[in-house]
């Protein structure tokens, strides 16, 4: 009996493993940063280069960090969703303008609207490396204790925001205050 059942059982297990493997998107690499303190940075602001945007001044609040650039197609795709999130007043969004042309970035925000409370300019991409960024757009959720709570890779939508971010935001505010 066993010698006939064993191949079928092994085959069944392989089907399950490969099926799960096929369903995974290999371009989404889980971030080791989730649950760890957000990397510090101090960057000139896009709208006022003489001022700095720092991670530490956000301590005590829940905020989003959205990595974007004008050369990034997915960023244009998600822009309307970012505007909707900003307009909802649920959470402030801060921008990380990654390896971009500053003039083009300013023009982009003027044309498409500016969802960001402020944007830091990461011209040489060093802050992006500290945050483990490998493909814009990426969106991080940072809690009041300065820890990264969640990371979303690829364009965000209101549905994704409501499903993955809103419960975490509510939980972070609940335990933080």
């Amino acid at each position: 009996m066993l010698r006939y059942a064993a191949p079928i059982v092994i085959f069944g297990l392989m089907v399950v493993v490969f099926w799960l493997g096929l369903g995974r998107d290999p371009s989404v690499v889980p971030s080791p940063l989730v649950g760890k303190p957000a990397p510090a940075f101090s960057l000139p602001r896009l709208e006022a280069p003489d001022q700095q945007l720092t991670a530490s001044e956000r301590l005590g609040e829940v905020w989003l960090l959205n990595v974007w650039a004008t050369w990034c197609g997915g960023c244009r795709q998600e822009h309307a969703a970012l505007l909707a999130i900003a307009a909802s007043g649920e959470v402030p969004i801060y921008g990380l303008n990654w390896k971009d042309d500053t003039l083009q970035a300013r023009a982009w925000l003027q044309q498409l609207g500016n969802p960001y409370a402020a944007t830091g300019v990461d011209a040489d991409g060093r802050v992006a490396i500290d945050w483990g960024v490998y493909g814009a757009p990426e969106t991080f959720l940072i809690g009041p204790d300065g820890k990264v709570l969640h990371k979303h890779i690829a364009p965000i939508t209101w549905e994704i925001f409501a499903r993955d971010f809103l419960p975490l935001i509510a939980a972070a505010r609940g335990s933080g205050s």
Partner: protein, 143 residues
Amino acid sequence: MKSPGVLLLVFLGVCGPVLAIDAELPIADPEQRELYDRLTNEVRCLVCQNQTIADSNAALALDLRREIREMVEAGQSEADIKVFLTDRYGEFVLYRPRWSGATAVLWLAPIILVLMGATWLWRIVQRRSGMPVTTEEQDAQDA
């Protein structure tokens, strides 16, 4: 087009830019240069996942090479640099994952599979060696 010289020129014209992937001068210290070469050939470019950052021209690969170069020149060890990379990008960034609880299955699976196969084979051979020889085989031996 028949002469080898012209062919060589065409070849260099096409492939020249590939050789010039790093515009900067190589690292002066031979030991550090060796470490830099080894690391950049072992770190995955996450934008183009089947390339190492030494192979890739993606902007992120360029940035990571610069970062690794600076750390190597600052005298940091291979282990330090790997920790820097995996803290940010996870174990996936290394083509040769380090030994840890999470990667143990990855390292042990081939050995376990070979042992399982060998045991299975050995049992078949054992069983068959005890079996009576069939008449066809006996005929073949007699012939």
